[in-house]
């Protein structure tokens, strides 16, 4: 039972200050820039919502947004079922379980640029392990610096390699918390494996799956480093996802106005879709 106590604000103050410093000030700056035009020399002119309009209409933005949704969509379709499947196939108890979990967690603790660099080396057509194998053993033409399709396959595979374990670990935690009695009752009721999955396992994993889907959505939608290090956004701009494009405009071209407007739109989309996912997945609990 929580007691009412306004003095609790003191406890929360340090957190509030740090996060506000990091979040509010920059956002204010961004909002500021988003509505102004500058030609350098610190001279700013009011633009109103002009930048927002320009961005929302810009082909370049649409293209990047489209690529981003495609990327995130593919990621979710692959990683969530795959993660659940792997978690289901793992034994619930035993000596090997912690070992497996540790090995599975390893990719998530590698700095993201190393992940990109690792996959770069791995997929070089003639001297990388995968590149060599695909090109020379399987005989398929595979060079991600030339072929957009190859580049896409690579960044997707890289992300699957990188983050599926998060889904596995979360799903596994959820599965392990299901008491044996449920499985016993299902046996007694004569339920098929599919029924057990549909009526016992998935419902009991709902909380962890919600977390997994939200996290994967957010992180894949905001992804920057790994694909950037791997492909640089290319070939051409075929793998230029939203973050990569934004950084190009902001830090590369120093186009403050457009960058700021794009930032806000980007953030807004992330928040909106996250909120949609969250509401859809927890609506049953509100009954």
């Amino acid at each position: 039972m929580k007691t009412e106590n306004q003095k609790a604000w003191f406890f929360v103050l340090p957190v509030l200050l740090l996060v506000a410093f990091n979040a509010l000030l920059p956002i204010m700056t961004v909002v500021n820039y988003s509505m102004q035009e500058t030609f350098g020399n610190n001279l700013f002119f009011w633009e109103g919502l002009g930048w927002f309009e320009k961005i929302l209409r810009s082909e370049r933005f649409h293209a990047a947004l489209g690529r981003q949704f495609l990327f995130t969509g593919l990621i979710l379709i692959i990683e969530i079922p795959l993660g659940i499947a792997i978690a289901l196939s793992m034994p619930r108890k035993g000596f090997w379980v912690p070992v497996c979990l540790i090995l599975m967690a390893l990719p998530m603790l590698i700095p993201w640029n190393v992940v990109g660099a690792m996959w770069n080396i791995f997929t070089l057509p003639d001297i990388g392990l995968l590149g060599y194998f695909v090109n020379h053993v399987l005989g398929i033409n595979y060079d991600m610096t030339q072929d957009p399709f190859a580049a896409w396959v690579t960044i997707i595979t890289m992300d699957v390699w990188h983050w599926t374990s998060l889904v596995v670990l979360l799903s596994y935690a959820g599965l392990v918390s299901i008491p044996d009695a449920y499985y016993q009752a299902a046996k007694i009721d004569g339920a098929s494996n599919w029924s057990v999955f549909r009526f016992i396992q998935i419902p009991k994993m709902k909380n962890v799956l919600t977390i997994a889907i939200l996290l994967r959505f957010m992180d894949s939608f905001n992804i920057y480093t790994e694909p950037f290090v791997l492909t640089g956004g290319g070939p051409g701009n075929s793998t230029t996802l939203l973050s990569i494009d934004l950084v190009k405009i902001a830090l590369g071209q120093f186009d403050l106005g457009p960058a700021a407007a794009m930032s806000l739109i980007y953030f807004a989309i992330t928040l909106l879709v996250s909120w949609l996912f969250y509401t859809l997945m927890t609506k049953d609990d509100l009954n």
């Binding site: 009695a181 449920y182 016993q184 007694i188 339920a191 419902p203 009991k204 009954n287």
Partner: protein, 361 residues
């Protein structure tokens, strides 16, 4: 409905059991009659859950056989044995409605929908949940959920035995009695063999026609609730059943006469066993009276239980409790205890060693 026979059953959770201690269940030979209401009573760790899981097929015993109506089922799966089990906490399918929960076992067996509907409504009416049929199971209170669990067990009419593993554990105390009576009612209507596992003697004694008392993997006594109360065959049963439990007092025996310290104690009848190492007198506090003469004791504690009081005294090092109605002595008073002779029993090495004296008319 079936008669269940357990033959030379032993179980160990270790791969290579050698000593008696390695076994969770010592040798058990038992018959459960068709349609009976049985309770498996004992403290935690006595092996009752193990035994239950062996009967239901969730556990394969290390040694021994189980027979349903004479046919061996030891190697059959739970599904094949046609049993039903209700667990300590409600096990229901959250995403289904109550109706679908009850229908689930029948649907899995391919029963046709008309029959399913009839059966589900019949069970729902028995359990008094008819107006909940279309509600999603997740939204029910724990006692209703537990009723649905029970219902799923009873909905199949060819069930051999229904087993309950401490089903009232998560139920609110003030609702327990309601479910207990509902269970008894169900048994009378359905007439299925029911086995009820619990550590709570009230539940066991009110539900069952026959109670199997277990301790440390052994069946200590089987009998009706009255038999268990009146003639416990083992000190454990005496102590465990009744509130407060039986007084178990160390004594000495010489030439067929029992002595509590220096005092001679009249037993209910002749001593039936020859020898042993541990001698104890068992007498229920209900049969200990305070009088002007008798064994001297000092009052240590008086507890008022409402209808009567429990007076705890000490005779030297021994503690003796007495049930007293009406006026009670005060602490540190010296009182005199009398044991009702026909309720005073001798236990040698824990087992009953006196026979009731025949009443000569």
């Amino acid at each position: 409905m079936a008669k269940i026979t357990l033959s030379k059953l032993r179980h160990s959770y270790y791969p290579n059991p050698k000593l008696a201690d390695d076994y969770a269940l010592q040798e058990i030979d038992l018959d459960w009659e068709d349609g009976g209401a049985y309770a498996l009573l004992g403290p935690s760790g006595c092996g009752k859950s193990t035994l239950l899981n062996i009967i239901s097929g969730l556990l394969v015993p290390t040694e021994g056989k189980i027979l349903f109506d004479g046919k061996e089922v030891t190697s059959l799966t739970p599904n094949q044995r046609n049993i039903a089990q209700v667990f300590q906490f409600p096990v229901i399918y959250d995403t289904m409605t109550v109706y679908n929960n009850l229908a689930f076992p029948l649907r899995n067996r391919g029963v046709d929908e008309a029959k399913i509907d009839e059966r589900v409504r019949e069970i729902a009416e028995m359990l008094e949940v008819t107006d909940l049929l279309n509600i999603r199971a997740a939204g029910l209170s724990p006692d209703n959920k537990q009723k649905i669990s029970m219902g799923r067990g009873l909905v199949r009419d060819d069930v051999n035995v229904v087993m309950f593993d401490e089903p009232l554990t998560v139920i609110d105390p003030h609702l327990k009695w309601k479910l207990r009576s509902k269970l008894k009612e169900l048994h009378q209507r359905v007439k299925a063999t029911m086995i009820y596992v619990t550590h709570d003697q009230t539940e066991a004694l009110t539900f069952a026609d026959q109670v199997v008392v277990m301790e440390l993997g052994q069946v200590v006594q089987i009998g009706t609730p009255v038999e268990l109360f009146e003639r416990p065959k083992h000190t454990f049963v005496g102590h465990f059943i009744g509130s407060p439990g039986m007084n178990i007092l160390n004594c000495t025996v010489s030439e067929g006469v029992a002595f509590l310290g220096q005092e001679k104690i009249d037993l209910e009848g002749p001593i039936t066993k020859e020898s042993g190492t541990k001698f104890e007198i068992g007498i229920r506090p209900e049969f200990v009276t305070l009088g002007k003469t008798g064994i001297e004791a000092t009052v240590k504690k008086v507890s008022d239980i409402g209808r009567h009081s429990v007076v705890e005294t000490s005779v030297g090092e021994l503690k003796v409790a007495a049930v007293v109605e009406g006026e009670t002595p005060s602490i540190d008073d010296v009182v005199h205890l009398n044991f009702k002779q026909d309720q005073t029993r001798l236990y040698i090495d824990g087992w009953l060693a006196t026979a009731a004296r025949e009443i000569k008319l």
